[in-house]
Amino acid sequence: MNYEYYSSLALVASAVVYMLAMFAHAAEWAAARRDVADPSASVTAQDSARELVPASQSAPVAAGVRAGVAEGAAPTTADGGSGGVPPGQRMEMFGRIGVALTLVGFALSVTGVVARGLAAGRAPWGNMFEFTTSAMVFVVAVYLVMLFKSGMRWLGLPVTLLAAVGNGLAVTVFYVAVAPLVPALHSVWFVIHIVAAVISGAAFNVGGLAAILYLVKKRAEDRGTVRGYLASLPTAKRIDLLSYRFHAFAFPLWTFTVAAGAVWAEYAWGRYWGWDPKETWALVTWVIYACYLHARSTAGWKGTKAAVIAIIGLASFWFNFVGINLLVSGLHSYAGV
């Protein structure tokens, strides 16, 4: 059996399926446009609905968001619907299709990564292709956990977009055939350092996506133009909170990633910090996220500015991964592309 072949096949398929999932979520988003006839009515309906929820019943807050919207939105559109299937149901249908496809894509991408590991006979994150596909497994896993735990289907569109682009780029641009590792990577830190990087990267990515959604929603709220899909998102405040939680989870782990990298560098290269481009950008990313955490607790920097910092942090994370790997030569040149 040729694991490498099946791995590539599964990963290509997963990229395609994620793309279809993204289309389904986009259709969900589009269907929502017709859902809400009167934007102001929807805002007040939604917000007052939340306010009126008694304390004892508000436990599944996020789950309630979905349910609340479905219930709250249906009456407003029942009369003005497009005939046939009520839009609220169409939105739900597309959303479910999206989730189903995401599950299929996730299964394929896990298969692909595992098969790749079997083909290589080692942990499947020795080059850029492998790292990207592994990271996407974690990104989608984080999303799926959030989806089933607290009903965050509204993250579906950005997450499937990211997964489709990530796996798509991996199988086309970053692809390299299976090969053993160079001696510098023969270390237990190969697992510790990179798993921490993958997980914190996944959390930073989901948090960054939430930060982007926060900005969109906040802008709409400030202008009073919350309609369509935006109305079915949680309030900006809640998105901000969620974004913060992802970052708060990722930041200590990223700190650990950098520290573990330093320990490994001491073993492999005889110095724990040498301002290698990858190290430098890991620090830059760390400092930007430290800025984000500080900004969130500083008057005048909360909210929009903090979200922008989080997005800059994500940009720096991606530059460190793609830009530094492909443009700059350094000790971390393992891309193999």
């Binding site: 508000s58 001696p183 520290a259 430290a290 800025c291």
Partner: protein, 541 residues
């Protein structure tokens, strides 16, 4: 440096530092020197400044990753200056080739750490006070708090209910006090502790780095297999040490390299990539000691009494025998050639100062897998599949011994003439192992006997590393506490209604944002006295 730092900004002093009341003036009041300094300090330790400094640090670190750095790749720096004759010197002057030791970079991180200290000290004081103080009093109107729930207990005993509340809250690890007709509880003190530990750890991290920089040393030495290295200053090819390092700190050990194995990818995928580097060494940790056989690999450095020995490079040394014009062996042995590319096209110089009547010198390339085509001689694979030596030759009258050190890797052609072949062209010598070449006009012969590998050892000691590592451990732990501990205040008030049921009010307040579950906890607590609770609240305010 989070959360409440903004509150460390001092209010404008009502009195000048010397106790005089401020003069009534128009416009901004005069601060005086003390006030001015205090103002500066306040500004420096404010959260905003910390934010700006953090940003500045991130931005300032970037050029060092894009512009070549002297400490990392000196050759690329000189290439850069040669390629950019106008930009190069400007870059040099503003320190762009030494970003991480430049005054501006140092200024940013030193200011950041000063700001950090200025932030930590008052917060430690505030925290120490908070630890000793009691939970806060009960607000009069509990229903105004973010989470609120009421339970009506028919015929309940207020005292009993409050005792139950206190017990239950204590179970949930709250610090509880009785406050009139209410119970006041607080938890989550460790959040601020974690925050402080994190920030203090950063100071220790810097301390560890500083100790390593001051007392540490690092050097490299190229060792041909079959030879050895003894830890003595003169044996290093390059050496750098901190200001407080003393030569006597070098441990008197020796490392003899008996063999070195390298393997490279021969398949089609990543052809030529390294697959194995492994050296067999014999370590003698003190003069006269017994040598201990050890294996030295990448990622597995030797540790000899605290000094680490890393395997950081390798290369080829062709072994040659040169006979001079008199027919005597003037030189014999391996000569280190330095790799120039990934396929180990290696450049080097063979100096024969003892040749008589004329001294000889050779300069050229060693190619482990030689190919000679229109691009000139080059190596196409890093392993020695088809080794060859391509040389030019020089000769000249013997040089007077001056004792001045000379670079073994470059040839000073002063007093030397390049040898020509019969047609007047530059003499080109191509040798493979076992072959020899006779120089024109009876100047002698050069024979390539074979080749051996050499390894580059890095020997170093960074004493502060344990401090830094411990600091990082504490920093991560503190960070987790400061991000995941939820400080929360809860109040329970029980009042006997007139002839009616006892009214139990429960209210809660989260003292850090991004916490959830307050409503649920408050409602649950209230539900403990009555299944039927009414309340209001939203998850966060």
């Amino acid at each position: 440096m989070a959360d409440t730092k903004i509150s460390s900004v001092h209010p404008a002093p009502a009195q000048l530092p010397d106790g005089r009341p401020p003069k009534p003036t128009k416009g901004p009041p005069a601060l005086g020197l003390g006030g001015g300094l205090r103002f500066l300090w306040t500004q420096l330790t404010s959260m905003r400044t910390a934010l700006v400094l953090l940003f500045a640090l991130a931005v300032a670190a970037i050029p060092g990753s894009l512009v070549p750095q002297r400490k990392i790749s000196p050759i690329r720096v000189s290439d850069f200056i040669a390629e950019h004759p106008t930009l190069g010197p400007i870059y040099d002057r503003v320190g762009l080739f030494n970003v991480y030791t430049s005054p501006w970079f140092s200024a940013i991180y030193l200011l950041l750490f000063v700001s950090l200290v200025g932030c930590i000290i008052p917060r430690v004081r505030v925290y120490a006070k908070a630890l000793r103080s009691r939970p806060p009093g009960t607000p009069r109107n509990l229903s105004r708090l973010p989470a609120y729930a009421v339970a009506e207990v028919p015929g309940g005993n207020a005292e009993q209910i409050l005792a139950q509340a206190a017990a239950r809250l204590k179970e949930q690890r709250y610090r509880v006090i009785r406050d009139g007709d209410a119970v006041s509880a607080e938890r989550g003190y460790l959040r601020e502790a974690g925050n402080l530990v994190f920030h203090v750890s950063l100071l220790f991290l810097l301390l560890g780095v500083a100790v390593g920089g001051l007392y540490g040393f690092r050097g490299t030495s190229v060792v041909i297999t079959g030879q050895g290295f003894s830890n003595n200053l003169i044996q290093y090819d390059d050496f750098s040490a901190g200001a407080w390092f003393k030569d006597s700190d070098l441990q008197p050990f020796t490392v003899a390299v008996s063999s070195f194995r390298a393997k490279f990818e021969t398949g089609n995928v990543q052809r030529g990539a390294a697959r194995l580097f492994e050296a067999d060494v014999a370590v003698t940790d003190s003069p006269g000691g017994t040598p201990v056989q050890q294996k030295l690999e990448v990622n597995k450095p030797l540790n000899i009494d605290g000094t680490t020995v890393h395997l950081i490079g390798h290369g080829y040394a062709p072994t040659v025998t040169v006979k001079d014009g008199a027919g005597d062996i003037a030189f014999s042995g391996p000569v280190v050639f330095l790799p120039q590319d990934g396929n180990f096209t290696s450049a080097g110089v063979i100096k024969v100062p003892d040749g008589r009547p004329e001294r000889l010198a050779f300069e050229g390339l060693f190619l482990p897998t030689a190919v000679l085509d229109d691009q000139g001689p080059r190596s196409v694979f890093p392993d020695a599949a088809n080794p060859a030596l391509f040389l030019n030759a020089w000769s000249g009258p013997p040089k007077k011994e001056t004792g001045l050190p000379e670079n073994v890797y470059s040839l000073d052609t002063d007093g030397l003439t390049q040898l020509k072949d019969g047609r007047g062209d530059t003499l080109r010598i191509a040798l493979t192992p076992g072959t020899s070449y006779t120089l024109p006009d009876g100047r002698g012969t050069i024979q390539m006997d074979g080749w051996v590998r050499w390894v580059k050892l890095q020997i170093g000691d960074t004493p502060g590393v344990a401090i830094s590592l411990g600091a990082i451990g504490f920093a991560v732990a503190g960070l987790c506490l400061s991000l995941f501990i939820r400080p929360r205040r809860v109040w329970v008030r029980a009042r006997r209604g007139q002839d009616g049921p006892t009214l139990v009010e429960v209210a809660g307040l989260d003292r850090a944002d991004a916490r959830a579950g307050l409503d649920e906890d408050v409602a649950e607590l209230a539900a403990g006295w009555s299944g039927d609770t009414t309340g209001k609240g939203s998850s966060t305010r």
